[in-house]
Symmetry: C3
Subunit: 348 residues, 3 copies
């Protein structure tokens, strides 16, 4: 399938430099692109690659106005590229129907145009929306809802009573709605607090492989619209994650914590229970959040504090042995001075 | 189903303030409770909510003696609440039988009153106790034992030769008995150390979604009675975890380490191999344990040391840049003094 | 099955002290070995156990020349033991054939001597090599390749277009080829970057339970020959891990990072995106790698720096409160001196 360069420019709202009639047959990264393909340069420090790439056309930022080869100039070259990618790669959805080796409760409610693979299980009274895809080994418990156009990859488990919105992607091994981790001590014995709440996942959420979202003790664990969660992330009971937030791999969020909108938690961050994190907060990799974080700022460290301050502190940390040595030399010099002064005192 | 308040009080060993004949129809949290429901207040700082909650009755501590609404006064209000919860929520177990789409070895030994869902696999010579529930996608390898009343949620894998006790809950994606991680270098090549031991999980253990308990190299990896493990936890080969210990999400415990009884490891803690952690130890979130920890104390940090000391050290850490500045000012003042003294010396 | 001691010595290239005709019937650890069994001592500090072990023979290092019982002296006693283990434990591979409850695409290409359990799924045009074992619940997507002698344990998911080499072991719950985590912001909305690359796993790789290896955005995520990965490890899109490297449990490696050969990343290490780690590097547990690391050295800490320097810094860290106290005492003494000097000045 080929597209004219001017069609692509129009599609992403960019402007053309050079031959808009050129035909583009595919997309690739700057280093691997071949003749006929289009690529992009997001960072001006790579603009020198304009000369060496074998791509026939390049998407660049609006500052670039001339080059040896045709360009699309766009406000955000990477975003433009990402919008063009599916034109060459994506296949329109086609239902594969319902495999007879899936087990589906007679009381389940099934939408149109489904793709249900073998070895799927759908429990009593669950409702599956139109055009949903359930890969092999997917388990949907009783009384759950999966809305239209969602895709559950192989071996995903959705416990009973869960609600999953539209266009949600759950990757392999994701577990939705397992019991939250709650016990009360009766002497030394751990008595289980029944976990009778549910999980609600709103529209356009993506959750990475083997991540786990626990059901609420009472009430709901909520993942808001547009949240993207990476692999091996733990979301505990009664957590709420605000719209459009990004949770990177291996993050752990403890019970009843509330994350704002448009937040970024980098890889391996841990957040304590009953914390509130404001909107637009960014927390750096491996940080440990032990108290509320106000909106619109970047944090780092365990315990997490303002990123700039942590960076200054950690630079001194690396020089602590020198600092300790400096301290003992100061001690020596002080003693010397005190000795001198006392001698002087005696002299008089 | 309704219960009289005095019946509930009796059931949890509490005393009544107000109308014991009141009928209770359900349970809920303090903020979401409605008329007819009972809730609880565990922390005295929330006692003011006694006035605003819509609950018809509240479980409180023994210190509270009067209120606008009926009370149950109990030694541990949360524990009392947790004991009452199942009265309204729990359904008595009912066997659903064995689905013909499960694959069960003819040499497997099956107890009574089982619930075995479709797409389950039970290997040769394995023994499944009475009233066990195996959800879809559960795999039980050869020569394994699962004792009575245990529940294995969807897509749990139990490798061959594992032993799982009574009333054990394994959440979705749990892997029991995968090979421990052991290699010997032969030059640069990693030669696998055969992992021929097993996993033993005692009674009343709960293990969270996608956690992994490796089989021993030789001998046993043992999870003792009453241990509760959260999601995404790694327990390596030959580890032993003592009775009633609590292991929070994303903790990793390296090979041959021995954890005492009634220990709490908070989220994302890492414990090195061949370590011993004493009874009743608490280790704070994200800590890294690199040496043995004595019983009955709290630890924090990487490397973990006494909690109080770490908290003092980390407070100074955050002020390291100021401290460095103070040091250089001291240096300046010292030089000034030394200059003065030497001048004085010369004056004489 | 019994073996003569001299046969075992020959097999591992060791020399005999004592009766080479002795018959050995099994292997065990030094503490649990019984009469008739052979064990090993790798560390000279355990040589005293030579006297107390009930084993009939012991593998020791070449320095040991005499003992009360027969010995095999070997350059690396543990390696010799590991080579002997399979002689007593390993059963030769026997195909169990293809279970009729597996779902196999008519366009899949199947090798000889397979073992395909019930509830397996093999997608269109995938190729399965000779003597491969696919346990229950394994999913192999379209257009994937699994080469000869590989074993995929229960509930492993291999997305479409993945390539898995020879003698690869994937433990339960491993996910190969799920989408990498890539989004571009369009205002606040996260627009998904299509992940159209693949995963390539070379020969002799082992990957632990519930670990996840993401497909590349474009191009390949590559795990080189002989790499060993533990449980719950996250490998992001476009990462490359060099030959014979060891990645311990719960490590996370962010996108496009390149790990050298023969590297060791200890448990819970995090590595930032677009980092290069040189050959033979060792990174200690829980470290956070935020910049390139040169070859042949050991690193520790967050951010990771040279192991020796970090150990020195962390020792001072633990004494920061004392250091702060010392600083304020110095301040006091300085003020005292300055006062004295100024008095002296006035005296004149």
């Amino acid at each position: 399938m080929k597209k004219k360069l001017k069609e692509l420019a129009e599609f992403v709202g960019g402007t053309i430099v050079g031959d808009g009639e050129m035909e583009i047959s595919g997309v690739a990264s700057i280093d691997s692109a071949e003749a006929g393909q289009i690529t992009f340069i997001a960072n001006s420090k790579y603009l020198r690659k304009l000369e060496t790439t074998r791509a026939s056309a390049v998407i660049v930022s609006k500052e670039v106005t001339t080059a040896d080869k045709p360009l699309i100039c766009a406000a955000n070259p990477q975003l433009a590229f990402v919008k063009i990618l599916p034109l060459f790669f994506a296949k329109p959805y086609q239902s594969k129907g319902i495999d007879p080796n899936a087990w589906i409760s007679p009381t389940a409610q099934l939408g149109k145009d489904l793709t249900i693979y073998p070895h799927v299980y759908i429990g009593d009274r669950s409702r599956i929306g139109d055009s949903v895809v359930l890969y092999p080994g997917v388990y949907v418990g009783e009384d759950s809802v999966i809305e239209e156009d969602s895709v559950l990859h192989p071996n995903v488990s959705v416990y009973s009573g869960s609600v999953i919105g539209k266009r949600v992607l759950l990757h392999s091994g994701v577990v939705i709605g397992a019991d939250g981790f709650g016990f009360v001590k009766d002497g030394k014995t751990n008595v289980k607090i029944p976990q009778v709440g549910q999980v609600v996942i709103e529209d356009d959420v993506e959750i990475g492989a083997n991540s786990t979202i626990d059901r609420a003790a009472l009430g709901q664990t909520i993942i808001r619209r547009g949240v993207k969660i990476d692999n091996l992330v733990q979301v505990a009971h009664n957590v709420e994650i605000g719209e459009d937030s990004i949770i990177v791999a291996q993050v752990g969020i403890a019970g009843s914590t509330k994350i704002g909108r448009n937040v970024i938690l980098a890889g391996q961050v841990g957040v304590n229970d009953h914390i509130e994190i404001g909107d637009n907060v960014r927390v750096g990799g491996q940080s440990g959040v032990f108290q509320d974080l106000p909106s619109d700022r970047a944090f780092l460290g365990t315990p997490a504090f303002l990123r700039g301050e942590w960076l200054r502190a950690i630079m001194v940390f690396q020089r602590l042995p020198e600092m300790k040595k400096a301290l003992s030399q100061i001690e020596k010099r002080l003693k010397e001075i005190e000795k001198t002064l006392s001698l002087k005192g005696k002299e008089k």
